[in-house]
């Protein structure tokens, strides 16, 4: 579960995405070396040491949740394996050795694609993290099958990191139902004992009370690591009470010397696309650094972090992130304070805090939820939301919004078709009231069309 959505994500369509992978290798070289395969200078990937066994883990981890998809001849989406191999090759050669996947990602194809790409390298030279993503069927058999299928797909008989997936979204009861009552946690503990799970942990989204309970359970289970959502917005501005501020999560883990792996360091790419006014401030301080690099440097500046996962969907962000983590410059206190100030400013923007993780999808009524939110957020960030029909350039803003809306989302998948059944609500790790947010956007669109703003 990781957080770098392709910033050029107008290339969302699979074909265009694949094309981009083919071409960006040419355009992405902003640094001095002619060879794309190596990072400039004598820089090396920043590594962290696991307190459990002294393993060296790259501070940049590869999140396998946002790889490009291509339409196959059967009309279905398939991962573009060629592109994945190319990206994994680049990452591997530049020292990225942590790969995080799940049986649920990319319509269930992520593990297989990761297995194909990684099995070309010696098994002991990289770390695999995957999860028990038993969201629908809580039976022991289904859980065991999922575990074995992961081994097959990833072509391995052991997992370096294994996680209970998305703890907290369904409360403590959900945890008991998914892992305790069916004995699956006991099974996993045995597997750890047997060395087939080298580190056992959980990924967390949810309320503070559940997290506290899990910290208490540390005495019993000895979590080897915990995956949390952390970035400079969630540090103090997570949506409480449904979510917990990252500073609390981090401190609790650090206190117990449990290493943290980080997901959503970029909030699904939202921290790479900031409102113009905020982006300007960042560029004023560091004209040469990308907006996204601030977010990565923020996470990497905390010592108890094992790896920062980024779901790099094409070569551009991959090359850029490898660069960031190879010439890693931790933030000083003043810079951290600056980011806190930026996070405060961001509160004033009516963006929807969607990270495009697509856990809510597919909506049974066909709504393209993440794309509707992304389209809206883009317009908020670029200051292209109309406030009133009387304002200057209203017609231009109206046209731009409506034309690009139709381009981004098919008519029958737009917000006006949301019936508000609410089946998506519990699935959202960001605790967004999705029907309400969709309704807000629908109202805006209606106001644009009727010119009643």
């Amino acid at each position: 579960m990781s957080g770098f959505m392709d910033r050029r994500d107008f290339l969302k369509t699979a074909g265009a995405g694949a094309l981009a992978v083919g071409t960006t290798s040419l355009t992405g070289c902003s640094f001095s070396s002619d060879k794309r395969d190596e990072v400039s200078g004598d820089a090396e990937m920043q590594m962290r040491t696991s307190p459990k066994n002294g393993e060296k883990v790259s501070l940049l981890g590869y999140g396998c949740m946002r790889w490009p998809m291509k339409k196959g001849e059967d009309g279905k989406d398939h991962i573009d394996q060629e592109a994945v191999n190319e990206m994994v090759d680049y990452a591997y050669r530049n020292g990225v050795n942590y790969y995080d996947t799940s049986p649920a990602y990319l319509q269930g194809q992520s593990e297989e694609a990761a297995g194909i790409a990684l099995s070309r390298y010696p098994r002991e030279s990289y770390y695999i993290a995957t999860k028990l993503s038993n969201f629908n069927n809580f039976s022991r058999e289904a859980g065991l099958k999922m575990y074995r299928d992961s081994q097959k797909a990833l072509r391995t008989d052991y997992f370096d990191y294994y996680l209970l997936h998305a703890i907290g979204t369904s409360g403590f009861e959900g945890f008991e139902e998914r892992y305790i009552n069916n004995g699956l946690l006991d099974f996993l503990l045995e597997e750890r004992e047997a060395g087939r799970i080298r580190n056992l942990g959980f990924s967390f989204h949810g309320r503070k009370a559940v997290f506290d309970q899990f910290m208490e359970l540390h005495e019993k289970y000895h979590w080897d690591f915990v995956q949390i959502e952390m970035n400079y917005v969630d540090w103090e501005h997570a949506k409480v009470p449904e979510n917990v501020n990252a500073d609390y999560l981090y401190e609790e883990l650090a206190k117990r010397n449990i290493p943290a792996t980080i997901m959503e360091p970029l909030l699904g790419g939202r921290l790479a696309k900031l409102p113009d006014a905020i982006a300007e401030k960042m560029k004023e301080r560091e004209p040469q650094m990308s907006i996204a690099s601030w977010a990565f440097r923020f996470c990497g500046s905390y010592p108890n972090i094992l790896t920062v996962l980024s779901g790099m969907s094409s070569m551009d962000p991959l090359i850029e992130n490898v660069e960031t983590f190879s010439h890693f410059k931790p933030l000083n206190d003043e810079e951290k304070a600056f980011l806190m100030e930026m996070a405060n400013l961001m509160e004033d923007y009516p963006t929807v805090p969607c990270t495009a993780c697509s856990y809510c999808m597919p909506c049974p009524y066909g709504i393209d939820i993440p794309t509707i939110f992304r389209h809206y957020n883009d317009h908020v960030n670029s200051g292209e939301i109309a406030q009133s029909c009387e304002q200057d350039h209203f017609q231009r803003l109206k046209r731009r919004y409506l034309v690009s809306y139709d381009r981004a989302v098919e008519t029958v998948r737009q917000a006006d078709h949301c019936i508000g059944c609410g089946q998506c609500r519990p699935k959202c790790p960001q605790s967004i009231d999705i029907p309400r947010a969709l309704r807000r956007i629908d109202r805006y669109v209606e106001n644009l069309k009727r010119e009643t703003l």
Binding site: M69, D77, C363, R400
Partner: protein, 501 residues
């Protein structure tokens, strides 16, 4: 010179008239909508006495100029004929004089008037000139235009521009599309071989105009002293109305194209008021050559032309694998057809409508399409599978030339009632899927849908939609946005007589 002026004027009118049907932005309709309103038949149906009188006067003064520079179908035939000029030359096929087919002309006109009064507008629309043109423009020209637009939109999208937006190309009614194709083929065929055959044998407007053009003040006249009987004018007369041997011109069929004046090298034909004309034909009476058999012009049976290859069914966009499949919506059965806001009643609407397709081509919401029912074939009706009749739009009322859709202001729209929604609770997702919905109620612009408890004894019961018939205006927002597919659980029935608050 006269020909040049005629060509330029006709070209401009033709381009603007066609644009009226092609331009979906509404700009052309706003600036050139009057071009549709000065067409003869729409003006008659709209009881627009001013326009009718002006056209009659125009014809009484200048002859059938209307047919040459105002009627888009006439100009269209001229263009077709001109395009085949090379072919005619190669095959030595020239136009030539033929006597007036009185029985056909008047027969058609009489039947046309009877059908018009009796309300068989589907049949009248088949031969009415402006309707035929609209049909061709909407069904055959518009798709080409839209594909061009979509190519631009594709480029604009790649370049990140907003100058063009994608528009869906779809066949609104297969029968109408086929009829348009047949009309097109027949007219091009006739025009290529014999010029204005349609205008002078079938066209009811042409026949009406001919009553006046016979007595027009300005007409082309022979100057027999200059004529060398070369027949060049006759060979170039697309109306087949010049009888050189007798130095006679049939003014009932002359459409004032001025081609004869232009081709005559001796200046033997001149366009002038009748009192200036030197009537010299009497001196050189020659026996007239019998006209060739023009049976080949009988084309009424040719509608059997099959255009199977042209069934370009509008394709729906493929769905992303990460998205649930969304079934397309089916057209529901409506006991009474839905006709646009601005109509008085279904009956009045269909009586006045010439089936010109202008409203169909202009509807930005994909609501209007030609009817496929035999009774109203090609005349528009509404349906809500692709959109609903949005409350901020009155485009069809703005463009309608013949009066069935009376213009109204946007503010009035929610006070007009054209239909009434009816709920089918068996299809409603609240019952079928056991989820809460209310999307119909949320989007109803007139607040006509009340969500009531499914189980009145349970205060937390799911709510099902009911319709307050007195408030429903029939816009179809509920039907379009209903999640039940392929048939919506709420469907709008037309009102036979529209009502206003």
């Amino acid at each position: 010179m006269l020909k040049k002026i005629r060509t330029i004027a006709a070209g401009a009118v033709f381009i603007l008239c066609t644009l009226l049907f092609l331009d979906f932005t509404g700009l052309a309709a706003k600036w050139f909508g009057w071009l549709a309103k000065i067409q003869f038949l729409p003006a008659v149906l709209a009881v627009n006495a001013g326009v009718v009188l002006a056209l009659v006067l125009l014809t009484l003064v200048f002859g059938r100029l209307y047919c040459s520079i105002i009627c888009p179908l006439g100009i269209f035939q001229d263009i077709a004929a001109r395009s085949f000029k090379g072919w005619r030359k190669k095959h030595k096929k020239f136009y030539n004089w033929s006597p007036e087919k009185k029985w056909l002309r008047y027969g058609v006109l009489v039947i046309f008037i009877i059908l018009l009064i009796a309300g068989f507008s589907a049949v009248t629309a088949l031969i009415a000139p402006y309707s035929s043109f609209g049909r061709i423009a909407q069904n055959l020209f518009a798709p080409v235009w839209l594909w061009g637009n979509n190519l631009c939109a594709w480029i604009a999208e790649k370049a990140g521009g907003f100058a063009f937006e994608h528009k869906e190309v779809w066949i609104r009614s297969l029968p109408t599309f086929i009829i348009a194709s047949v009309t097109f083929a027949v007219l091009v065929f006739l025009a290529a071989r014999n010029g204005r055959t349609y205008c002078n044998t079938i066209c009811p407007v042409g026949t009406v105009m001919s009553f006046f053009s016979r007595f027009a003040i300005f007409r082309p006249f022979f100057d027999t002293s200059k004529c060398s009987n070369c027949h060049l004018c006759e060979k170039n007369c697309k109306a087949a109305c010049i009888d050189v041997d007798n130095h006679k011109i049939d003014y009932s069929r002359c459409v004032d194209c001025f081609d004869c004046i232009d081709t005559c090298k001796r200046g033997a034909i001149r366009y002038m008021p009748f009192w200036k004309a030197k009537q010299t034909e009497a001196q050189e009476v020659k026996k007239s050559v019998p006209a060739k058999d023009s049976g080949r012009r009988a084309f009424i049976g040719t509608s059997a032309l099959v255009l199977g290859s042209l069934t370009l069914k509008a394709q729906d966009k493929k769905v992303d694998g990460g998205l649930a499949t969304v079934l397309g919506k089916k057209v529901p059965e409506r006991e009474t057809p839905l006709v646009p806001f601005g109509a008085l009643s279904v009956k009045d609407f269909y009586q006045h409508c010439t089936a010109c397709q202008l409203c169909v081509s202009q509807c930005p919401n994909g609501v209007l399409r030609p009817s496929t029912s035999l009774e109203h074939l090609m005349q528009p009706e509404m349906s809500y599978e692709r959109g609903w009749c949005r409350v901020e739009c009155n485009r069809c009322a703005q463009v309608c030339p013949s009066g069935p859709i009376r213009n109204y202001s946007i503010e009035e729209k929610t006070t007009m009632h054209i239909g009434v929604a009816k709920v089918n609770l068996d299809l409603c997702v609240v019952n079928r899927d056991g989820v809460s919905c209310g999307n119909c109620s949320r989007h109803c612009p007139s607040g006509a849908i009340l969500m009531v408890r499914k189980d009145p004894s349970d205060k937390d019961s799911l709510r099902i939609p009911t319709v307050d018939e007195s408030r429903c205006i029939g816009c179809g927002a509920c039907e379009f946005l209903c999640p039940s597919r392929p048939l919506s659980a709420i469907r709008v029935n037309g009102l036979k007589v529209h009502r206003r608050d």
